[in-house]
Every structure is written in structure tokens, then in C-alpha cells.
Subunit: 484 residues, 2 copies
């Protein structure tokens, strides 16, 4: 099928799908979750073979995948996400009467979703981008990631079964294989209305540039990773350095350092405990066995990046894994704030189990470093209660750099929930106004439309006088579940 | 002052301003409204001299300007717009506990606002873009429109007075003069975080392209106008053609056709009443005196566009005003759907008091025309109740083309309210997810951020356990005004 036929089909299906009720869409999302589960162990084994990720991790990832499909189903059933807003008519207002105005979010149309190498289930075929786009009422043209084609096709079949079970048109979800050129053609297609992508900066930026150059530009939600700095404040550093080191090590090693939220940068005070922190951290990282990454290209990029580090005077390499092999051992390097600020290259993400410790000597120095940061998915501040209470200035600087700001735990835990933001200022993503994880992700695929003086029969259920869906609506500026 | 100094100041002021409470920002917006009013008749006279718009119109526009400043103040005082969302911790959840997560919208940083020629007050210095950006907590670098520099500087002084009265830093609002190059430099400045613009397609697209090419791309909200089609259904056309013609004429002539929502295209059934519709419309338009437009360049562009029409076989010109003068008389042309669909040039906006009547012979033909439309700010459907009830397919097509869908009245009335959308798919705007009029406009200048396991003392008021602002918050998926 040519891409023109593909998008014609997606557009035609959109006419039907965008008219389905929220309940129908919710049923469809739940059906996908069930069909994915029914693929059984075979799915996990296939994904493991293709991605080198262990079964336990993939079992968790499947749970996240089906969980987020069901979370979006609940969101649709609850229904308030459309931001229904009604200004009632004021026929007697002077000098001019006010007409009846009713606004809600509607879906954008057919959208393109790219699979991610590092989450063959949760950020791929039936992953968060697909789930949120389908929840919004968009139809999806899905571009399989070449790293896990069999996994992708299995899940695509599951979605097709769900479509059949729900008597929805085939064009609601279409699965496409191919390389970079295929991806470019999808981005350039005039009928594509938005793009979702998770991957490298290079890939995300290229897609963004292409989408901007279209005759009709479209939104691009590219999540391009980040180095996820951790700021350890002095009292905290003094209290339990070995435990902090263990936490960092665990987070760095998670999924062979292939999480977008891997903490690749830790600011630690120059102090007595710095040595014990580094010692524990380097022990923990050195203990970890060298293992296969998602694919050989990613692994050789990892080694390549580490070799570049060796050439930089600004850093000391503390742990250097074997570099000409097809497995990745953990890596650790160290510098101080003054050198880090000078050498912009140290802000580039090294995708894999690597972290850089940056020592600082004062809060002023730490604030300087914070203000030099590029956009991040996450920033983490570890401090004792008293020092945190005094760190408002640092926190204000960091908040403007990231999508999520942690004060406990490690950034690699990404919750799929209402309040999650997995996004952040460029270059973490191409659109800081969005998240790719959690219910708020649905907003990426919708836009507002206002009905003026519309007859009841032409209004969507969400905007009719009778609030049959019992959603929360803003009527003349006040939230209410009442009918008009 | 260099642009670097200017943006340093804007960034420095952002640190203070983004920390002010909602109540403080509301007070500031109200102070601007008061200061604008205190400029008195002198402001209206100056604006009239510079824009050729009559005092009565400018009086109304001033009311809209101060009204929208106060509306945003109320929105801030109510406070729910930040979409505060809290997922409470689930420490006992298995296999992993859930951390406490709290999301809200925060301001983007310093933004650039461009003045509009056609609204020297309501879309310029203290207009909708400035008001919504300041309400969001952004600082504003405002680029004056060269069409009304004196008006702009008067209003800028009023804003400066309001800043002083509220003891806010000067850098919260800065006023810049200059031409195209100055505008480009502002768009390219690394510290600018978003752009708002109202004007021509050419200008908006150029700004969008520049912003995309930045090392760090930023959102561009360019409202570039549209032709605002009106679809007259057969029974409605049969019932009161002369009255409909009068409505169209009035809307076309409003502000010498210089409203972004001027109805430049009317689909009318080929019928017995088509003649009387055209007759009344042409009489009304011909009666209107030729008057000065906003400036001579706009006027000569108008005449130029009309001359191009004369060269097209696809249209008949019915009213052709004097074309080599510095005033604009109204213009009217006519074609049919088949010719209109063929000739894409007829979808280009002619900025001024002009409209094109397109006759159709069947609902299928009308749906075909609708599906050929580019993105629009507004679409209007006029029909009798019975035929409207059967027009769901047409309405579905049109809804996907516009930001506002009217069933009564004319598109030129743009209400500043909660439910308004003044936006629409490209090329009406560069970002269909936004509106530049109404309270929803504030969302353009904000992005979500999530706090994870944050101590109460570091949380913004909106996210603390105690809901001291009494805003509506989504707690574990449920809207509530309760404290935790």
C-alpha cells in the first residue's frame, strides 16, 4: 500500500472513529490491553530476543503498557479531560448581546507514532503515544522500530483483533515497517496531523525540522532524552554517602543505562564524604557485569562516546569498561563545577550505564552550574529538610530547566499517572508544553474548537445542555457537573 | 539598550515576577487597565490619527482591552487555570510504592509579543497577547507595530506606571521599536521562550520558520487570518435572502473589512433567491463610502489583490471599487463551486471589504467545497432548524477546518470569554492547539512541571497539602477543592 492510500485510509477511518463515544473508545483501549495480554509469554520472549532485555523487565513493561491503556480508558469514561467550557448567551447585554459559546477539545486527525528502541512494549506499538493518540480520538499510523520488528508485528496484530472485536475500521491503526526514508515520508505526508517520537536528539531534531518545513507545519512531540542531573546538598552528602552512592548506581544500571531518565550527572560537594561516595559508587558500578545493550549500534555508540571522554582534559575517568566489545560495562567519570561549566560537551547525553560526578565547593557554585544546564526531563535534589528549606533559589533555577523535579528517589522511576510530566524544555523534548507519560499526554493530540449558537442536535454530548456524561464543565467560569 | 541587555533584564525580572502570587499578578493587570483608562481621550485620538479607525470603534476597542486585562485578573484570582493535579503517595503499593506527584502549569519565561496593525489597542501593547503572557507569569518584550508608534508608546508608559505602582521590576514589560530586522532579532534571541503575533500569512510564516531554525526552537503563536466561509443552506436561503445579505454586508464592512474574521466567502444555493441575495448585498456594499484603510500599504495591497481577481476567468466581479486611490470601497465577486474548487488562488485572503459569493447546486457539492477548505479561524453555517439537523456530515467536515463554528450571527463578533477559540488549523494560525482571544489564551505561555516527593515548604501554594487558594485540583483523578 502506498503512503497516499495509507493516509486516505487513516483519514477515512478518522471520520468514523472521531465520532465514536468516549465509552466506545474506552472499550477499544481495554480490548487492546486484553489482546496484548493474550499474546502471552511468546510476546515477552520475542521482545527479549530482539532487545536483549530480560524477561522480568519486559513483564513489568507489559504491565505498564496494559496499565496505561486502561488508565486512558478510565480517563475517557470519566470524561472531564475535554475541558468542556460553556458561556451561556446574554441576549440582553448592552451594547451587544453575547451569543452562546461552547468549547471543547477535539482530536487532530491521523497522527504518526514512531516506536522507541528502549521500550519495545511501553513506548512502541501499543505504547503510551499510541494509547494517548487513540484515546484523544486520532487515528494512528505507526512506524515500527527496526530494533524489534517481530514484537511490533505481534502487538499490531493484537490491536487489529481489538479493532475487529469493536467493529472499528482497519484504518484506525496501521502498522508500517521501513527505515529512515520511510519515516521521513510519513512525517512529510500532507495528511499527517502530528508526530510522536522517542529516541535520540539527532533523530528527534531531524523529524522536527522536516515537520516545520512542511507546507502545513504540524506539532512534533519528540522526547530526546537528557542527562537528568542529581544535586546532592552538603548535609545530605555528609549523612549517608554510601547509601546515596548505592541509589545512584542502581538507577544508572537500570536497563543497562538505557532509560531516558538515567542519572548521567551528579553534583556532589567537595567534602570528606566525597571519597566514600565515589568509592561505593565505583565499587557498585564495577561489580555490574558487562551485558548486551539494545543493539550493537547503540553499544558501539556508547563505547565511542566513552572514548571521546578519554580525550577531554576536563574529566578523569574512574571506571573505564572494556571498549571494543559487544557488551557494555558501567562507566564513571569525575570533574568539578569549574571544568564542567567550561566544557559544554559534558552536557551531551552518553546513552548507557554511565554517570559523571561533578564536585562543587559552595551553593553559589551549584547555582551557577544549575543555571548553565540545558533542558532536562528530570532534575533531582537530595537534601536534609533544613538545607532544602533554604534552597529555594536553587530549586527555582532547576524548575525552569526540567519537566519533573524530584526530592526523593531516583529519576528512573516514571509513574504512569495523572500528575506525571515526562517532558521538559528543549533539548529534552521539542515541545515543553507536553508530556509523553501519564494522562496529560492525551492533550498532545487535541485542539480546542468553539461552537457558537449551535442547535442542541449538532452539539457533541459533552456540550449539550443536559450533561448526560456527568463530566465537570466550566459554565460561565465556574466548574460544575450540573446540566444547564 | 542592546537586545542582550534587554533579554538579560527580562530574564532577571522573570525571577521576581514568576514568584509573585496570583493575587499580585491580578492586581498588576488591573492596574494596567486603570492606567490605560487614565490616558483618556488623548489615547483614542492618537490611535485614530495613526490607524484611520473612528473614535467610536476605538472606544469599544479600549473597553475590550481593559475588559480582557480584568478578565485575566479574575482568572488568576479564581486560580484553577494552573491545572493543579496531585497523585498522593502509595507507600504500600506492590511491587513498587508510588511517590507523591504534583503537577501544575508554570510560566515559560521571557516572551516576545508583536503588535497588530488592525487592533492598535486590543491586539497591541496591552492587548490580548501581552495580557495573557503577563497573566501566565511571563515577562514580555513587546515589539511595537510601526503603524501606530505613538499609541503604542502611550500604552507602554501606562504599563510602566502600573509596574511602579505594584513595585515590580521594569523588565517585566519592555517596549521595543523597529522594523522587520528588529523583529527577526527578537525572534532569534536565545533567551526568548515564545512568540505571539497577529498579522499576515507572510509575516507569521517568516517568524515561524525563524523560530524553528533556532538552536533551541520555541513555540510561535501566529494568527494569520482567514477567509471565514459562510455556508447558507437552501431553506434558510429561501426564507429571507435580503436579510442574510444585509448581515453579510455589515460584517464585511466592519472596520473597513480589516477584521481577521471578515467573511470573505459565502456559499449560497443556486436558487430563485440567489438573485435577490446578490442584489441586496451588492446594493449594501455599493452604498458604503470608500474610506481610508489602516495605512496606505494595506490599501494598495487591497487594490492589487482586486486587480488580480480581474485577470481570473473563474470569477465575475460584481462590484469593483475605484482602484487607484488611497481609499477602499467594498468589492464583491461571484463564482460557482466547480470553478472555486479548481482555482486554489480564490482561497487566499484579500484583506479588506471584499467577499466572494460561491453558488452551489447540491449538498454533495457543498460538502466537496468544505473538504477543500484550508484551515480557518471561523466557519459559519446558516440553516433552518430542520436542514441543520440533517447537516451533521457537513458540520463534521467544517469542524475539522476551523477554530470556531457559528450557527447564528456573523464571525466578526469575537467574544472575550471563557469558551472562545480564536485560532484554527494552519494557515489560520501556526498552532491550532491555541487561541489568542479568551481566557484559554493563557495556556500558550505555560508548561507543566511535576514535583516528586517535594517538602511542603518548596511547593507552590497551588500544590501544598492545604489548599489555601481554594482552587479546584485533581487529586487521584477526582476534582476537589478540599485540602489534603
Amino acid at each position: 500500500m502506498s503512503y497516499n492510500e495509507l493516509f486516505d485510509k487513516a483519514e477515512e477511518a478518522f471520520k468514523t472513529y472521531s465520532k465514536t463515544t468516549a465509552a466506545e473508545k474506552a472499550k477499544f483501549l481495554r480490548a487492546i490491553a486484553t489482546e496484548v495480554e493474550q499474546l502471552g509469554e511468546k510476546l515477552l520472549e520475542t521482545a527479549s530476543q530482539e532487545s536483549n532485555l530480560p524477561l522480568a523487565r519486559l513483564t513489568g513493561e507489559r504491565g505498564r503498557t496494559t496499565g496505561q491503556l486502561r488508565l486512558f480508558a478510565s480517563l475517557l469514561e470519566e470524561g472531564t479531560w475535554v475541558e468542556a467550557t460553556i458561556d451561556t448567551a446574554l441576549p440582553d447585554r448592552t451594547p451587544l448581546p453575547r451569543p452562546d459559546l461552547r468549547r471543547m477539545l477535539i482530536p487532530l486527525g491521523p497522527v504518526v507514532v514512531f516506536g522507541a528502541s528502549n521500550f519495545p512494549l511501553a513506548f512502541s506499538t501499543a505504547g503510551g503515544d499510541t494509547a494517548s493518540a487513540l484515546a484523544a480520538g486520532c487515528t494512528v499510523v505507526y512506524k515500527e522500530h527496526p530494533g524489534h520488528p517481530k514484537t511490533s508485528q505481534m502487538v499490531a496484530k493484537a490491536i487489529e483483533k481489538a479493532l475487529q472485536a469493536c467493529e472499528l475500521p482497519e484504518g484506525v491503526f496501521q502498522h508500517v515497517s521501513g527505515g529512515i526514508e520511510a519515516g521521513q515520508d510519513l512525517v512529510k505526508h500532507p495528511k499527517a496531523k502530528a508526530i510522536a517520537f522517542t529516541g535520540s536528539y539527532k533523530g528527534g531534531r531531524a523529524i522536527f525540522d522536516l515537520a516545520c518545513q512542511r507546507e502545513q507545519p504540524i506539532p512534533v512531540y519528540a522526547e530526546m532524552g537528557s542527562i537528568n542531573p542529581v544535586f546532592v546538598l552538603p548535609a545530605k552528602a555528609g549523612s549517608d554517602a554510601p547509601k546515596l552512592a548505592e541509589q545512584v548506581a542502581q538507577s544508572v544500571l537500570l536497563g543497562v543505562g538505557q532509560f531516558c531518565t538515567c542519572p548521567g550527572l551528579v553534583f556532589f560537594p567537595e567534602s570528606e564524604t566525597a571519597e566514600s561516595f565515589l568509592q561505593t559508587l565505583s565499587n557498585k558500578l564495577a561489580e555490574a557485569p558487562a551485558v548486551a545493550m539494545l543493539n550493537d549500534r547503540i553499544c558501539s555508540n556508547y563505547h565511542e562516546s566513552l572514548k571521546h571522554l578519554a580525550g577531554r582534559e576536563s574529566v578523569d575517568r574512574i571506571i573505564t569498561p572494556d571498549e571494543d566489545v559487544l557488551t557494555a560495562g558501567a562507566a564513571l567519570a569525575k570533574t568539578n563545577v569549574r571544568q564542567w561549566v567550561q566544557d559544554k560537551a559534558l552536557q551531551e547525553e552518553i546513552f548507557g550505564p554511565y554517570t559523571l560526578i561533578v564536585t562543587y565547593t559552595s551553593l553559589e557554585e551549584l547555582e551557577l552550574a544549575a543555571s548553565e544546564l540545558q533542558g532536562q526531563l528530570t532534575c533531582t535534589v537530595w537534601g536534609e529538610a533544613e538545607e532544602l528549606a533554604k534552597a529555594a533559589d536553587l530549586v527555582a533555577i532547576i524548575r525552569d530547566k526540567c519537566g519533573r523535579l524530584l526530592f526523593e528517589g531516583v529519576p528512573t522511576g516514571v509513574e504512569v499517572s495523572y500528575a506525571m510530566t515526562h517532558g521538559g524544555p528543549f533539548p529534552a523534548t521539542t515541545d515543553s508544553r507536553s508530556t509523553s507519560v501519564g494522562t496529560y499526554a492525551i492533550k498532545r493530540f487535541a485542539r480546542p474548537v468553539t461552537y457558537q449558537a449551535a442547535p442542541q442536535v449538532l452539539l457533541p454530548e459533552e456540550l449539550k445542555d443536559e450533561n448526560s456524561l456527568h463530566i465537570w464543565r466550566t459554565v460561565n467560569g465556574q466548574l460544575t457537573q450540573e446540566s444547564l
